[in-house]
Symmetry: C2
Subunit: 108 residues, 2 copies
Amino acid sequence: MKKHFGEYIRQLRTDKGFTLTQLGAKLELDSANLSKIENGKRDFDEKRLNLLASVFNLNLDELRIEFLSQVIAKKIYESSCSLDVLQVAEKKVNYLRQANLKQKSLKF
Amino acid sequence: MKKHFGEYIRQLRTDKGFTLTQLGAKLELDSANLSKIENGKRDFDEKRLNLLASVFNLNLDELRIEFLSQVIAKKIYESSCSLDVLQVAEKKVNYLRQANLKQKSLKF
DNA sequence: TTTTGACTTGTCAGTTGATGACAAAATTAG
DNA sequence: CTAATTTTGTCATCAACTGACAAGTCAAAA
């Protein structure tokens, strides 16, 4: 379990024996900034997920889950609110998806 | 069920018979911007949750759950990722909280 | 149909926060 | 020690958010 997404990246990087500069280049990132990301002092930008996935041959959907779950967990942790929020969120996602389906079906 | 937090605010406001201008003043918001919020064209700023709670005599914790769940649902909906992300997020929150407890106990 | 009040929409300047970049310090490895 | 690697500090820039105002629609009342 990782405290933030940066730890996850560091794990991937060191497993492959890359330096910050090497991986940074692949991710179009300054090595200094990648360092900050790995140390949780900056956020990893979602738009680079596909690069990350291709560099390490990861499934993009699974990677996005790893990433998003960190983002969500951070929010909940910082707001110190009940985990009930997750149940409520799940219902809302289902509602949004169902509403989207209905709208699509109306178009045809 | 609401598509966004603005709908929730509109419900509260119209139930009480407030106009946009009236509620806007209480929330320190332009009526035009409150209108956009209620119509989902702008986001409600989290820092105004306490004002909102006091105007309508709501429990702040419950209100925050309503708010945060919308934010989370929106993210998941937009990224079209699996709802598994919620389970993973829950584990991460628990991990973060537990890690925080450990750190606190070390201080004393 | 004119007026009035409520709401909506468009626009824009100002602010804020994130980002990229670079220098320099600190740490580690050879 | 030296060189490579990593970390930290700083700052200009850029994008996104915000508040504010003007102009617009709409419905009800006069």
